[in-house]
């Protein structure tokens, strides 16, 4: 039993579980203050998220973009970078994919989708590369620069949908993409599409890249101890650039897939918050790609459950984001758990001594 508890993963899982319970307790308090019944709310929420085929598939659809944005966050975190510009990279990827999607016609569907997604990847990567380059060459802090790049991307994209790419006179949005660029929907009545399989593949690819390649090894070292990595012969600057590139690439791909699979056109402000949600998911998964898949499904599920909740009892769906952020508070503060852990252990010791 003791060996099982010492196991790092078990400890991590218990930590996650504990954080979730604590955050839900705090969330209940907020709900009580607003006059809602927490138990009923949580039940409706989980039912709306995971019970029933349609609810579950919708949860997977909601999880898809989160998988990409959380992988983007993980690549940055692992390299010791704070890429807060995922939101912007996601948008840039989405708009480029839409552009390729509706301008080119008469292409084989496979090639059309591939072309659109490759362009989205490249665009997201380039948008993330600039802050990376600034960090490496000028040592500017990437936290502020990536945030500023979010605003630049948001207004830049808003210009594109309002002027050159605008189709509808009513709302700022682009024309619909050609059918050949669409990702196929998997089931009737949901927007779940083949993008989910791409997400699964990318999780495996990311896990492989991070744990089984020289690049991943270098990233981890740069992230943990940059000076040590430098003396160990790892090209630190190059690794930082690769970290930003890959991070932006995943974000851009996510944007492309969201447009080709779900919306099929670019509408202004369609993605608000997905980039930051991705950061939450990455932290929830403790920066582990496989964990990110489950965390994304958890969060995506809660988000889709929150929609059901909003329809049935008009409790604002933003409640979920609030609670998940609180989960991250507890998870970020590992020493709370050390405290509880040690308390438990010392009690065990005391008992064994007495015996």
């Amino acid at each position: 039993m003791k060996r099982l508890l010492d196991n790092e993963t078990i400890r991590g899982l218990i930590m996650v579980l504990f954080s979730v319970i604590l955050a839900m307790a705090v969330g209940s308090l907020v709900m009580l203050i607003n006059g809602y019944q927490p138990l009923k709310v949580y039940l409706t929420l989980f039912k709306g998220a995971f019970f029933g085929k349609r609810n579950f598939l919708t949860s997977l659809q909601r999880a898809t973009p989160l998988v990409f944005t959380s992988l983007a966050a993980i690549f940055a975190f692992r390299t010791g970078l704070f890429n807060l510009g995922i939101e912007g990279q996601f948008l840039i990827g989405a708009v480029i994919a839409t552009f390729i999607g509706f301008t080119i016609s008469g292409l084989n569907p496979v090639f059309h989708v591939l072309l659109a997604l490759c362009c989205a990847v490249a665009a997201g990567a380039i948008w993330a590369f600039i802050p990376g380059l600034l960090k490496v060459k000028l040592k500017t802090d990437e936290v502020i620069i990536t945030i500023m790049f979010n605003y630049l991307a948001r207004f830049g994209v808003s210009y594109l949908v309002n002027y050159p790419l605008r189709e509808s006179a009513v709302a700022p949005m682009t024309p619909q993409i050609k059918p050949s660029a669409e990702l196929v929907r998997l089931a009737q009545g949901t927007q779940l599409n083949t993008g989910f399989f791409i997400a699964l593949f990318m999780v495996l690819l990311a896990a492989f890249l991070l744990s089984r390649t020289t690049l991943g090894f270098g990233m981890r070292n740069v992230g943990l101890a940059p000076r040590f990595a430098l003396f160990g012969g790892i090209p630190v600057n190059k690794t930082i650039l690769m970290g930003m590139l890959l991070s932006g690439a995943f974000a851009g791909l996510g944007g492309g897939i969201e447009v080709l699979g779900v919306y099929r056109r670019f509408m202004e402000d369609f993605s608000s918050g997905l980039g930051f949600d991705g950061i939450l998911v990455a932290l929830l998964a403790k920066r582990n790609p496989l964990g990110a898949l489950f965390a994304a499904i958890f969060y995506g599920g809660l988000k889709s459950g929150a929609m059901v909740l909003e329809w049935t009892s008009d409790i604002p769906r933003e409640l979920i984001g609030t609670i998940v952020a609180i989960i991250i508070f507890f998870m970020a503060a590992e020493s709370i758990f050390d405290f509880i852990w040690n308390l438990g252990n010392s009690r065990v010791k005391a008992v064994t001594k007495e015996a």
Binding site: V143, M148, S158, Y159, E318, A332
Partner: protein, 313 residues
Amino acid sequence: MVFDLELIRSTLRLATPIAFAGLATMLTIQAGIVNIAVEGMMLVGAFVAVVGSYYTGSAIIGVILSMLGSMTLAFIFALFSLKWKAHIIIMGIAINIFANYLTVYLLRAIFGVAGAFSSPDLKGLEMIKLPVIDNVPILGSLVSGYSILVYICWILVLLSHIFLYKTKLGIHLRAVGENPAAAEVMGIRCNEMRFFAVMASGALAGLGGSYLSLGHLTMFTEGMSAGRGFMGLAATIFGMFTPIGTFLGSILFGLFDSISWRLQGMQIMPVQFLQMLPYAIIVIILMTISFREKWVRAMTAKANRAALEKAEE
């Protein structure tokens, strides 16, 4: 006409929330903490100010409550990052996301509206005419007739200068940021000083937030802080971590903000390009600062090498 007296006035107005955020960030950086949670604290402050003013009918009570609201968030930030050792930047990110969702949630739960809330019952801060200066020809029209928070901001810039460089507590605070180990040896309680700095930054962020929702406008909109907390961080870097420098930095960003608004009114080009202006300027300014630092480093290294060679001869 783009440049006139009104441009200076609107620069001073728009610089105020950035200056509050800047002072908040500057104080914590002086204590050795990069506090990016100022953005979220401001947003919560802006929201609480509106709630307070709406329900009590007094804008001043709104401002006070907003400071308390932001300080509550600052307390959570300090508790988790200082006591329970959560990573400062990660905690900052989490606080910002939390503030974003919480304000939207509460906006809908309390007022039942999405996007923005404004009401005739919502009392904003009144403009104050300075007694004597108001009658002085040009000076009067420059510095008189702002909301009280603008003047509080100017006073706080001076006070924080005096605090940091002339008082014992301020010198201790800077010692904690400069060299925590040495400060600890001197008998300064580092964590207590940091806690104090974070709480002060919460109060300042609350003032900045309430200026946004009760001073500049009389309404709350989702994501109202719009990166001003980060602009405050940029202003701090621009001002080389001094109160006066930070204030000058926020005046500069305020200027570009107001130029952008001015040009938007003239409809000479798509609004989006003008909205980008303040953010693009910040990127360029940060690049320039870093470039200068790099150049200084290179020159110092060169001078050191030259001195070394001379010594060897």
